[in-house]
Subunit: 259 residues, 2 copies
């Protein structure tokens, strides 16, 4: 069965989408079959992987409502071994519409465990979460084996971490007992900047081994890649950003081998 | 009556909180009496203005439920003429709890128009919105005279703009006929970076005069200020960030004089 990882942090703009796309690309470059699930109504992961709005006929919203076959909603991207379930703004009404549904927190969990998914033989499923701890993010945490937390190397980013860890514990106690923390990855790190160093020191002293040793530097090539609709690994393969995401993928795999 | 401005954009990390705090500080430095309403469960505006978690006995959540006197919930900050209604994570349950309330979209509108607010003689009320188009952001848009949109000079930031403009139009048609767009302000602008220039060119060609001529540069002093619990205008008064927010305040006032 594939390993399912929710990429989550309610703080906005910390690199959730960027990490989902590029970690996914790094894992797929190593030969793993990877599925990205875009669970954000903004649809940034879909855009960043080159799926135009017109090509998003079936989306994660349909998947949650169990209204669609997997072959219709799982799309190939231009990156080898990397597939996507796209999102549109329809997803933003899911919160309200699914509120009355008894199984509302398990919809994604069930959708990703239907027999039909076995034929795709995915090794990893990465779920890009919206910047909130709403029903969509809870669905991701219930569906996932672990949560990967991008942490921007900025002051406000540390503030939300304790709330996020509380939510993970609540989901573990109420719906998904085996939910682990895959790790916390520092993003947009600028080694010339005191603030980055301070945030790193704080994170490592508070969270210890939960913090990946791999750190993602602030790198303009990373933020340019989405406008070319490809991961930075193909946009500029030798860039510091691409190298950092490859190192993160290797570290993630090694951590899981040890389990 | 005070001018009420909602600072909103569902894209995360674009500078909503930073703009609310520092535009507020710039307006108050000119002698205006300013109130910041923290409408984000993350409580970043409260932290950035130096209100510790323990001092947030009454919050925006209580204000929405009409459970509190204004003198209890409006706090002075260390910045002269700048007051705050703080937020805690309690606010994140407002979405679900207020769903059944008939007047759910008008709660903030009514709270900010009660007679008791006249004695504070505010000139401006700035509302810091969470990164979503949920009930909290709708409350801000119903309560406001206008919406100020921070636009990060990055590719993904442009993508959400059309959805945001749609939501503003919907609120104007359903609940607040006089809601205007105060303007779109480019944030974290790096003039050495093609991407910033491209985003600026796109924004100005699509949105014309809606885009402020004042642009907020990426400036490390801006991101350091919150860790000292003060606006950048007091943390480093001569910094490019402080100067840019002063220019934005002047431009905003001039635009309103012309109306
Ligand atoms: N390492 C990096 N170097 C430079 N820019 C980066 C880096 N990582 C992300 N960015 C840019 O920062 C912005 C925020 O990143 P991203 O959109 O991935 O964050 P997010 O957490 O998914 O945001 P949201 O909360 O809106 O979903 C984007 O414009 C992205 O291109
Ligand atoms: N002009 C700037 N120069 C440098 N850093 C900035 C600037 N503006 C904002 N930042 C930093 O960028 C990060 C995101 O800004 P901020 O938190 O204000 O965005 P936001 O839109 O309020 O985020 P959220 O969507 O989570 O509410 C913060 O760490 C902030 O300090
Ligand atoms: Mg995202
Ligand atoms: Mg904010």
């Amino acid at each position: 069965a594939p390993k399912i990882i929710a990429v989550a942090n309610q703080k906005g703009g910390v690199g959730k989408t960027t990490t989902t796309i590029n970690l996914g690309a790094a894992l797929s470059e190593m030969g793993n079959k990877v599925l990205v699930v875009d669970l954000d109504p903004q649809g940034n992961a879909s855009t960043g992987l080159g799926i135009e709005l017109d090509d998003r006929e079936f989306t994660t919203y349909d998947l949650l409502l169990d209204d669609v076959d997997l072959d219709q909603v799982i799309l190939k991207t231009t990156t080898n071994n990397l597939s996507l379930i796209p999102a549109t703004v329809d997803l933003s009404s899911a919160d309200i519409e699914l509120m009355a549904n008894e199984k509302r927190s398990f919809l994604l969990h069930d959708a990703l465990r239907q027999h039909a998914i076995d034929s795709f033989a995915f090794d990893y499923i990465l779920i890009d979460c919206p910047p909130s701890l709403n029903l969509l993010t809870v669905n991701a945490m219930v569906a996932a084996n672990s949560v990967l937390v991008p942490l921007q190397s900025e002051f406000f980013a540390l503030e939300g971490l304790s709330q996020l860890m509380l939510t993970i514990r609540e989901v573990r106690q109420s719906a998904n007992p085996r939910l682990r923390i895959e790790g916390v990855v520092l993003t947009m790190y600028d080694k010339r900047n005191n603030l980055s160093q301070q945030v790193e020191a704080d994170a490592r002293s508070n969270l210890g081994d939960l913090v990946f040793s791999s750190v993602i530097p602030r790198n303009v090539r990373v933020s340019e890649a989405p406008s070319y609709a490809v991961p930075v690994l193909s946009y500029d393969t030798a860039s510091k950003g691409a190298e950092a995401y490859r190192a993160l993928a290797v570290e993630l795999i090694n951590n899981n081998d040890k389990l």
